[in-house]
Subunit: 210 residues, 2 copies
Amino acid sequence: MSSLSLLPAAEVSPKRAAILEAATRLFLAGGYATVSMDAVAREAGVSKATLYAHFTGKEALFAAIVGGRCAEIAERAEEMAAHAASAEGALRGMGRAWMTFLLKPETMAIHRIVIAECARFPELACAFYEAGPGAGRTWLTHRLEKEQRLGHLRADADPGVAAGHLMGLLRGELYIRTVLGAPAPDDDAVAGAVDQAVEVFLRAYGAPAA
Amino acid sequence: MSSLSLLPAAEVSPKRAAILEAATRLFLAGGYATVSMDAVAREAGVSKATLYAHFTGKEALFAAIVGGRCAEIAERAEEMAAHAASAEGALRGMGRAWMTFLLKPETMAIHRIVIAECARFPELACAFYEAGPGAGRTWLTHRLEKEQRLGHLRADADPGVAAGHLMGLLRGELYIRTVLGAPAPDDDAVAGAVDQAVEVFLRAYGAPAA
DNA sequence: GTCTATATACAGATAGAC
DNA sequence: GTCTATCTGTATATAGAC
């Protein structure tokens, strides 16, 4: 019985939730500096005093937002991993899922923010790397090791290096263009680019005997 | 004779040069928002009024700085291209030159700034892409076409796609880690990563007959 | 062109009532 | 916890003398 009262730990306060939601929207849209605490309070429908009662300051609020997104990204990565591991044509499927996620406006927005503020919040940039690209690379390394044991990949390849290469091939031109503000490519363009990248990867890393 | 007076067009004003130098340093170190016009004036050793006499405002000053760096990057790209075209082991040499330039703290700083401000200054982000990654890819595409005509690359490869793939392989893990604040890797690490990337590229794109 | 001094606005953060 | 009202610093930008 007493454990029941511990369950809704996430829904501590509706005001706090409103603050987090509004601040997330504003930070992702405008970056760190352009967002004022006044704007967050107004957008969340609370007073500034309430805002400061929940978060000790602007930096703490920002850290909470970005840290939360990192956790979300980590969950998302596990979810994608679960799907990709069970699918055939695993590399293509995984590549499409990853690139679609990566190029989404919200993902791009958090990339830009973390990159922009990595001098002011180095620990956030580190946490973001670990939760995002780092976790993806670690998972992909293990996945490629498995493929290697199955004889689908060259035996002399370093799976960690190969994982970095596959991610680089997948990002390719699309990532750099999109992070610099170009409109996100449509699904067909993404799928085509992923197929090309996977084809090139397998030409370089596929087992010669296969 | 009259043409002589037109020559020193670049050295119009020492104060202006001091402003540009100070502003470049400050913007590259701190981004757009954290730099105040007071700080620029103080650091340049001029008054704010003088600052505003040379630049209509903070946005114009920022645009002048970043636009200037774009022009510099474009020049630098041509310079690197001239060297790489004449060298043997062209891909390795070019890759090392490009990655060394890309991972330099100053290059990373301008990457972060342009990415951070691509919502506020979309035309700057576009100019940066054209001067940097876009120009590099265009040049590399032509270079790969030439290699293809010489029979060094697969005949069925699209040189533009291949150029994007080579750049993606080169960037690989190093770029994303460094742009997220990790310390720049040393020359040996860069050289090793470039060699691996080029090796993989040639396994996928090298002419089968060769 | 260059300076000193200032106008004007808004930022982050808090005091005190309820 | 939540509000209204406010303190304090600093930002961009300008006025007017030289």
